[in-house]
């Protein structure tokens, strides 16, 4: 019994920390500093717990929750994302005179929601996780409550998100009525033994679940909300949403693909593959014409979700390993890019445009070098982390006989190179103008940059450590 609690400790720690932070926040006025440090410490402890529990692969709490293994690895990814977001957010919101402690509390809640998703072994747990994460993100997107774009972002996200949740719940209900079980294992057994009560309802249920999750990931054709929401939300929040949030939602797909769809695998695979194609093409093409870097990254994050969807569509172990590897790599490079943007952003309404970056390399060498590194990594140039993610994904696709899907990914990468190196062109090749960038750097501003840049390089030089760990989970 005790063991169960220990194995699930990262999840429990963060959930309790979020509740405590909320209570402390309500009881003490001006507790921003306290909450900040409390969140950092609790996330750090949970990170240690997550790393320790990686070998504790198993089920806990009457099979509702999976512990150790891939969920623990995902936990550490989410926690690192949360930590970096909180560290980067403090100077960002301080510069806008909007320091409230609920920011950190909400990040904690969002993190706990993501962890619940990763740990879920039961559709209800999955649903609770998705709701906790989404609700926190709705509020975080509208954190600058006096800013029109932030409110617009939150409202759009909330209305469409709530609508998508309806699909998800209905899908879960149909799957339950078809199989008589909410447990992934139970559903899988029911399909394998052909003991479905209402066999016709099952594919409908699965389709609705895929629609609901597809919305959360922002895959084609449910991606339209993403650019506006990502663009309007506070920059640090966008960084967190579009990396850890996306990874969590993709993680929710894994049990669906792994346990639940052996019934009609081919058709689901085809749907996912087509969706990946659309996501990659549309995300990349739309990103080409953007002048505002944040919006460009928002569209490109749609494209990156498309690459990761390849790992799901091919539905083999290599694909899932590649998916999680890519999610980790993507977290560091995309979050790093958003941290740079958060430092550069001055105006709440309008984020930096390409022109504002002209000549950045001459004024802020470190900042420009880090941004260039993230851009090259996002474009998939070796030896950065992003390249290895793509290499694993394309390998998985070709291995599964989806050579055409790999070629779509390659074409997408070709397009993406254009707009990613466009940023480098402005930073390095154009001459400096009167611009609005931040003047002073501090240790707290540098820390998230150093961590993400180091991770992008290390994952690029020794990718096999993480990859072999991940592939051991699905063997």
């Amino acid at each position: 019994m005790m063991n169960e609690w220990l194995c699930a400790s990262p999840l429990i720690l963060i959930s309790f920390a979020a509740v405590i932070a909320l209570v402390v926040d309500a009881l003490t006025p001006n507790s921003e500093r306290t909450t900040y440090h409390f969140s950092l410490v609790s996330l750090a402890i949970a990170l240690v717990a997550a790393i320790i529990t990686v070998p504790a692969n198993g089920l806990a709490f009457s099979g509702m929750i999976r512990t150790g293994g891939a969920p623990a690895v995902l936990d550490s990814v989410f926690i690192v994302g949360g930590l970096l977001t909180i560290i980067a957010a403090r100077p960002y919101i301080a510069a806008r005179n909007f320091e409230h402690d609920e920011f950190y509390t909400l990040v904690l809640y969002a993190t706990s929601g993501m962890m619940l998703i990763a740990h879920a072994q039961h559709l209800l747990i999955l649903f609770i996780g998705i709701e906790v994460m989404s609700l926190s993100f709705y509020v975080l997107a509208g954190y600058f409550r006096q800013t029109v774009s932030s409110i617009e972002s939150a409202l759009k996200y909330f209305l469409l998100g709530a609508f998508a949740t309806g699909f998800l719940v209905f899908g879960i209900a149909l799957v339950y009525s078809a199989t008589g079980s909410l447990d992934f294992g139970g559903i899988g057994t029911a399909i394998k033994n052909h003991t479905l009560t209402f066999p016709r309802l099952f594919p409908i249920g699965i389709a609705l679940i895929i629609v609901g999750l597809g919305f959360k990931v922002a895959v084609f054709p449910f991606h339209q909300w993403a650019p506006d929401v990502y663009d309007g939300a506070p920059t640090v929040v966008t960084g967190f949403m579009s990396t850890a949030g996306k990874a969590a939602a993709l993680g929710a797909f894994i049990p669906v693909v792994l346990d639940m769809i052996s019934l009609d695998e081919q058709s689901v695979q085809t749907v996912l593959a087509l969706s990946a194609t659309g996501t990659i093409i549309i995300g990349n093409i739309a990103a080409v014409v953007q002048r505002r870097i944040k919006r460009m990254l928002a569209y490109s994050s749609v494209a990156h979700a498309g690459y990761m969807l390849i790992g799901l569509a091919v539905a083999n172990h290599r694909g899932l390993t590649a998916l999680v590897f890519y999610a980790v790599a993507y977290l560091f490079m995309q979050l790093g890019a958003f941290v740079v943007l958060a430092i550069l952003d001055r105006d709440v309404e309008r984020s930096v445009e390409l022109d504002d970056c002209a000549g950045l390399a001459t004024k802020h060498q470190g900042l420009a070098a880090a941004m260039a590194l993230f851009m090259f990594s996002l474009a998939g140039i070796p030896p950065m982390a992003g390249f290895f993610g793509k290499y694993y994904l394309f390998t998985a696709a070709i291995e599964a006989g989806y050579t055409w899907l790999a070629i779509v990914g390659v074409i997408g990468s070709m397009i993406s190179v254009y707009y990613y190196i466009g940023v480098v062109v402005y930073m390095y090749f154009k001459d400096a103008r009167e611009t609005i960038w931040a003047t002073e750097m501090s240790a707290t501003k540098r820390l998230p940059l150093v961590v993400t840049a180091a991770a992008v390089i290390v994952l690029g030089i020794v990718p096999s450590a993480l990859e072999s760990l991940l592939s051991s989970f699905w063997k």
Partner: protein
């Protein structure tokens, strides 16, 4: 001993680049001198490799293999054979010249500049010695980043356009190659039960791939290399990149980067897919001939010296591609030698154009005239480079072009004399555009008063040009040491293609390629002694 040497040749420039990052950017003298010293030491370290390699063996030597990504069997595998040896030496030889020639010419952000060059050197050497497809790809792509910055930051007026074009062209080709590499790995998985990117294992397996698939893979590789070479009609990035790049960037671009494409064609296309190579040989040959003539004609009408030299590269590399497409011993050996030759003579031409540009800040041919009167020493060296590029007997260009044309004549795969006959006119065109340019720039009266007080070569310029001259003459008179190095690896490739050419008359073929004519005696001897 040899292994350590090879590793240090590969990583010394990278270590130097990382070391220089820690030195503040305003200590420019340190950056200049240290990077030059590192490039020279790398060259000196690379020289013994020539003797550490057994030239009679066609397999890879000094092989180092370190596991990297276990699940995909991608390893850090490097090694040398005769062909890669020559190109490594060309790289390490060109680098100190390029860095030395930048001193005083590059005035902004020198720290980044020299760091980029050292990074570039490691990546280029890596491309030539990688024995793992994955590692090869990593080095291949790694080259893009420093070159992109070199063109984009220190280039001319339209540098941004040129840099982006260079980057996009190359990446489009190389991503196709990536798919082909993964496909090969998957094929290995089905054939030997293990996904691998090991060059030596894949080389054994690749010819057994069904011919329909082989054609696709051949195309993917060839496209990537054709863009790099560049083979007509993928050459349009080259004039822009060359004209906009700083002088040293052009030297590296023409001298080494383009050779990566032709190197890849021999190493991968011919060696992996001999059957498809036989099928595609006429196409490659035709494109090579078009490139030779087209490049020459366009070069002829250029008013800009640097652009003229850039287009002459398109023409000269056509000969290399023709030699490769012939798939005979003469043709491929000539191609390899011509790669070295082109690196030396075109690199030197770019340096010479740079010398003039530094004095007058224009590259318009019409702006000059009578320069030989004021710069007599320069006139001699420029003339030598120009004549070597034209292919004057006694200088290096002649030997390489002659061998590639000979290969084109003899090739059973091209099976027509017309390739070589038409290509030979390219030599005449080269004489026309280069001699004409030289005449307009160097001879005649000084019409432009701005040219009257130009000073002759500085010490630094002499130091960068004269080492090249030594090799121009050496290869022209006694190419034996260079041909000997590449003989056995060339022969192995040729024999492999020959083994797969079943439908062709094999007996007639061996006779043809071994029975050299009488006027290339020294070369013939080398070809014969290396034959197993």
């Amino acid at each position: 001993m040899g292994h350590v040497l090879l590793m240090s040749v590969l990583f010394l420039p990278l270590a130097g680049a990382l070391g220089l990052i820690t030195v503040p950017g305003d200590r420019v003298v340190i950056h200049r001198r240290v990077s030059l010293a590192i490039a020279i030491i790398t060259f000196l370290l690379s020289l013994p490799l020539y003797w550490l390699i057994d030239h009679t063996r066609s397999d890879f030597q000094l092989v180092i293999s370190i596991p990297w990504i276990a699940s995909l069997d991608a390893g850090f595998r490097i090694g040398l054979d005769g062909m890669s040896l020559l190109l490594v030496l060309l790289t390490t030889f060109t680098m100190p010249i390029a860095i030395g020639a930048s001193n005083g010419i590059i005035t902004k952000r020198e720290k980044e500049y020299y760091t980029m060059f050292l990074l570039l050197e490691t990546a280029m050497i890596g491309v030539f010695i990688a024995l793992d497809m994955f590692l090869f790809y990593v080095f291949w792509e790694l080259i893009l980043i420093p070159m992109y910055f070199i063109i984009g930051i220190w280039g001319g007026q339209d540098r941004i356009y040129a840099a982006v074009k260079f980057f996009l062209y190359t990446i489009v080709g190389s991503l196709l190659m990536l798919v082909a590499i993964i496909w090969l790995g998957i094929y290995a998985q089905s054939a030997i039960g293990q996904f691998t990117t090991d060059f030596i294992k894949l080389r054994e397996l690749a010819p057994s791939i069904p011919i329909e698939t082989q054609r696709w893979l051949f195309t993917a590789f060839a496209l990537s290399f054709a863009i790099k070479v560049p083979i007509f009609p993928f050459h349009t990035w080259l004039p822009d990149a060359h004209v906009q790049a700083p002088t040293a960037g052009s030297v590296i671009l023409a001298g080494i980067l383009l050779k990566m494409g032709t190197y890849g064609l021999i190493r991968f296309n011919l060696d992996f897919f001999p059957q498809s190579a036989i099928e595609f040989a006429p196409l490659l040959g035709v494109l090579a001939v078009i490139g030779i003539i087209y490049g020459a004609l366009v070069a002829m009408v250029q008013p800009d010296m640097k652009k003229l030299v850039a287009y002459s590269s398109v023409s000269h590399l056509g000969f290399v591609v023709l030699g490769i497409a012939s798939m005979t011993n003469e043709g491929i050996q000539g191609a390899i030698l011509q790669m070295v030759n082109h690196g030396l003579s075109t690199g030197m031409l770019f340096l010479c154009v740079g010398v003039l540009y530094e004095r007058r800040h224009t590259r318009e041919i019409a702006e000059y005239g009578g320069i030989a009167r004021v710069m007599p020493h320069f006139a001699v060296l420029f003339g030598l480079a120009m004549l070597a590029s034209v292919g004057l007997p006694g200088l290096n260009g002649f030997v390489g072009e002659f061998l590639t044309l000979l290969g084109g004549f003899r090739s059973p795969y091209l099976n027509s004399w017309s390739y070589s006959i038409i290509s030979a006119t390219g030599v005449i065109f080269a004489a026309v555009y280069l001699l004409w340019m030289f005449q307009r720039v160097m001879y005649g009266p000084i019409v432009n008063p701005a040219n009257e007080n130009l000073h002759d070569l500085t010490l630094q310029e002499r130091w960068t040009l004269i080492p090249i001259v030594i090799f121009l003459v050496w290869i022209g008179i006694y190419p034996q040491p260079f041909l000997r190095a590449s003989a056995s690896s060339t022969n192995a490739v040729v024999q492999k293609v020959l083994n797969y050419s079943v439908p062709l008359k094999v007996t007639g073929l061996t006779r043809q390629s071994s029975n050299s004519s009488t006027f290339d005696k020294p070369i013939k001897v080398s070809l014969h002694t290396e034959r197993p």
